[in-house]
C-alpha cells in the first residue's frame, strides 16, 4: 500500500505548509460567517427599507461579535426527553461536511516559489483531490445527519417533524444537484475541479460538426455551454443549504424553528455556521463550474503573468502577484454568488412543502436528466460527424 501521506508533500516545509493550509481554509470558512451574517442583516434591512444593526461598531460590523459573546454566556441545557449525546453531537457535526468539502475548491493559480531559499509549488486550496466533484458531493450529502440528529436529540415533535422534512428535502435535491453537474463533467471530461478551471480559460471557442465557433470577446466559461445546468444547479443548492425559497424546514410560521427549535446559544450559531458553509461551497462550485473559477474574464493565467512580469520585472514577484490577483478574482465571484443567496432570501416567498418536493422530483430531476442526455448526445454527435 503506497503511502497516503506522501501526497501531503515531499519536504518537511511542504508538509507543514499543507497542514497549515488545511487549518487556514477551515478558519477562513468559519471567519467568513460573521461577515456574511452582517451582510445578511444589513442587506436584508436595506431591501426592506429599514436600517438593520448600525449601532455596535462602525456600520454595525461588531454586532456579531457582541452576539457571539452574548451566546457564550447563555444557559447550556438539554431537553429532558431528548437524547443527550445526539443533542450535543449535532451542532458539532454541522461544521464537518461543509469544512471538508470546501477544501476541494481551488481558489487561485498555484503559487510557484523559485528563489534560492525555497523552491516549491503551493496549491491555493485545502487539498488537491483528483475526483474533486465526487468527493464534494459525497461529503456534503452527510449534512442530512446533522439535521436528523438535531431533530431526534431534541425530543420534541416540532423538531422531529422539521428534521424529517428537511432531510427528505435534502436527499431529494441531492439527486437534482448531482445530475445537473453531469453535463459539466461530460463536457470537461474530468471530475477534477482544477482541470475544469483549466478547460475554461481563454476565449469562447469550440468545434462541432467540423466547424470551429469562436467569439473573441466572450470567455470560455461553462455558463455558455450549460445554461440549463447552471440554473438547475443553482436552484438545487438553495435547497441543499435550506435557504429560502426552500427553507420550509425552518419556517417560523409552521414549525417554530424546525430542527433547531430547542437549541439556544452557541449551538445554534454552529448550525448557522454549517448553513453558511454550505452556501459558501455552493458559491464556490458555481464559480468553478460555470464561471471559470479563478480566471479573469477571457485572459489565461499565463497572459496575466506575462502582463505582470512586464510591469514589475521580477519573476518571483510576478508569480506572487499572479496568485493574488486570481485569488481576488475568485473572491469577487464568490462574494457575488453569496450576495445572490442573500438577495433571493429576502425577495422570494417560500414554497409549501408539497410544492417543494414536487419541484425536486417532478421538475428538476427530469430536466437534469434531459440536460445530461442532450449534452451527451451533442458531444458525441458533434465530434463524430463532420459536415
Amino acid at each position: 500500500m503506497t503511502s497516503a501521506m506522501t501526497s501531503m508533500g515531499a519536504t518537511g516545509l511542504e508538509i507543514t505548509v499543507n497542514l497549515i493550509k488545511t487549518v487556514l481554509v477551515f478558519l477562513m470558512m468559519v471567519q467568513a460567517v460573521p461577515i456574511l451574517v452582517w451582510l445578511e442583516r444589513r442587506g436584508s434591512a436595506f431591501i426592506q427599507n429599514r436600517f438593520g444593526p448600525n449601532r455596535v461598531g462602525p456600520l454595525g460590523l461588531v454586532q456579531l461579535l457582541a452576539d457571539a459573546v452574548k451566546f457564550l454566556t447563555k444557559e447550556d441545557f438539554v431537553p429532558e426527553k431528548g437524547s443527550r449525546f445526539m443533542f450535543y453531537a449535532a451542532p458539532i457535526f454541522a461544521l464537518i461536511p461543509a469544512a471538508i468539502a470546501y477544501m476541494a475548491i481551488p481558489m487561485s493559480v498555484p503559487l510557484k516559489l523559485d528563489s534560492a531559499m525555497i523552491k516549491a509549488t503551493f496549491l491555493i486550496q485545502g487539498f488537491e483531490i483528483n475526483v474533486g466533484i465526487v468527493f464534494v458531493l459525497g461529503v456534503s450529502s452527510l449534512a442530512a445527519y446533522t439535521i436528523l440528529m438535531a431533530g431526534w436529540g431534541s425530543g420534541s415533535k416540532y423538531s422531529l417533524m422539521g428534521a424529517l422534512r428537511a432531510s427528505a428535502q435534502i436527499i431529494s435535491y441531492e439527486l437534482a444537484l448531482g445530475l445537473s453537474i453531469v453535463g459539466v463533467i461530460l463536457l470537461y471530461g474530468s471530475f477534477s475541479l482544477t482541470e475544469m478551471i483549466a478547460a475554461q480559460q481563454g476565449v469562447l471557442k469550440f468545434s462541432m460538426f467540423g466547424y470551429t465557433v469562436a467569439c473573441d470577446y466572450l470567455p470560455n466559461w461553462g455558463i455558455f455551454y450549460q445554461p440549463l445546468g447552471m440554473m438547475l444547479f443553482f436552484a438545487a443548492t438553495f435547497a441543499e443549504s435550506n435557504r429560502l425559497p426552500f427553507d420550509l424546514a425552518e419556517g417560523e410560521a409552521e414549525l417554530v424553528a424546525g430542527f433547531h427549535t430547542e437549541y439556544g446559544g452557541f449551538k445554534m450559531l454552529m448550525f448557522f455556521i454549517g448553513e453558511y458553509g454550505h452556501m459558501m461551497i455552493a458559491s464556490g462550485l458555481m464559480a468553478t463550474f460555470f464561471f471559470g473559477g479563478y480566471s479573469i474574464w477571457s485572459y489565461t493565467p499565463q497572459e496575466v503573468y506575462q502582463w505582470l512580469y512586464a510591469w514589475v520585472g521580477s519573476a518571483q514577484l510576478a508569480n506572487i502577484l499572479n496568485t493574488a490577483v486570481h485569488f481576488l478574482s475568485y473572491n469577487i465571484k464568490f462574494a457575488f454568488f453569496l450576495w445572490i443567496f442573500i438577495w433571493v432570501r429576502w425577495t422570494l416567498p417560500r414554497f409549501r412543502y408539497d410544492q417543494l418536493m414536487d419541484i425536486g422530483w417532478k421538475t428538476m430531476l427530469p430536466w437534469a436528466l434531459a440536460n445530461a442526455m442532450i449534452t451527451a448526445t451533442l458531444i458525441f454527435v458533434g465530434s463524430y460527424f463532420a459536415f
Binding site: 500500500m1 497516503a4 458531493l137 459525497g138 450529502s141 436528523l148 427528505a168 441531492e174
Partner: protein, 179 residues
C-alpha cells in the same frame, strides 16, 4: 509505526466498532448511526487504497442516501418496545458475543487462508498506475460497460422493479394514509 499503518489500524477499528455497535447497541437509532460510522470508515479505507472514486461514491450512495433513509424511517417508529424487546441477561449476552466471535473467526480464518497460502499480491506499480484521476475511473467504466454490461443493465431493471413494486404494494394497502 508509520502513518499508513496507523491510519489503517485506526480506520479498521472504527469500522469494526461501528459494525459491532450495530448489533450490540439496543437503541435502533444509535445502531443506524453506528452503521453510518462503518460506512464512512470504509470510504476512508478506500481512500487509503487510492480508490478515490469508489470512496466518493460510497459516501454519496451509502452514507449519504441509503443510511439517511434508514434513519428517517426508524425515526417514524415508536421505538420504546424495540429497546426493551432486545433481551438482556447473561445467557442471551453470552449467546450474542459467541455468535459475533464465531462469525469474525470464520472471516479472519478465510482471509488468513487466502493470503498465507497463495502467490504474492499484485505489485505496487500495477496498483499505482490505476490510481490517477480519470485513469482510475476509466478502467472501471470500461469493465462496467464492456465486460459486465449485462449485469449492469439487469441491476438497473431490478432497481426499477423494486421501486415500482414498493409503490404498488403500498398503494394496494391503501397508500400513505392507510390505517
Amino acid at each position: 509505526m508509520t502513518a499508513d499503518a496507523f491510519l489503517f489500524w485506526f480506520l479498521a477499528f472504527a469500522s469494526l466498532a461501528g459494525a459491532l455497535g450495530v448489533v450490540l447497541i439496543t437503541n435502533p437509532i444509535h445502531c443506524a448511526l453506528s452503521l453510518v460510522m462503518t460506512m464512512v470508515s470504509v470510504a476512508a479505507l478506500f481512500v487509503t487504497l487510492q480508490a478515490y472514486f469508489l470512496a466518493g461514491v460510497q459516501l454519496i450512495v451509502y452514507a449519504g442516501a441509503v443510511m439517511v433513509l434508514f434513519v428517517m424511517v426508524l425515526m417514524l417508529f415508536d421505538l420504546k418496545n424495540e429497546i426493551q424487546a432486545f433481551s438482556r441477561g447473561r445467557a442471551k449476552g453470552a449467546f450474542k458475543i459467541g455468535a459475533v466471535g464465531i462469525l469474525s473467526g470464520l472471516i479472519v480464518g478465510a482471509v488468513a487462508r487466502v493470503t498465507l497460502f497463495t502467490d504474492t499480491p499484485p505489485s505496487a506499480s500495477t496498483m499505482a498506475q490505476a490510481s490517477t484521476s480519470v485513469g482510475a475511473i476509466r478502467p472501471l467504466a470500461e469493465s462496467l460497460f464492456f465486460d459486465y454490461v449485462f449485469g449492469f443493465e439487469i441491476l438497473g431493471v431490478l432497481l426499477l422493479v423494486i421501486a415500482v413494486g414498493a409503490v404498488a404494494l403500498s398503494r394496494s394497502k391503501g397508500g400513505t394514509h392507510a390505517k
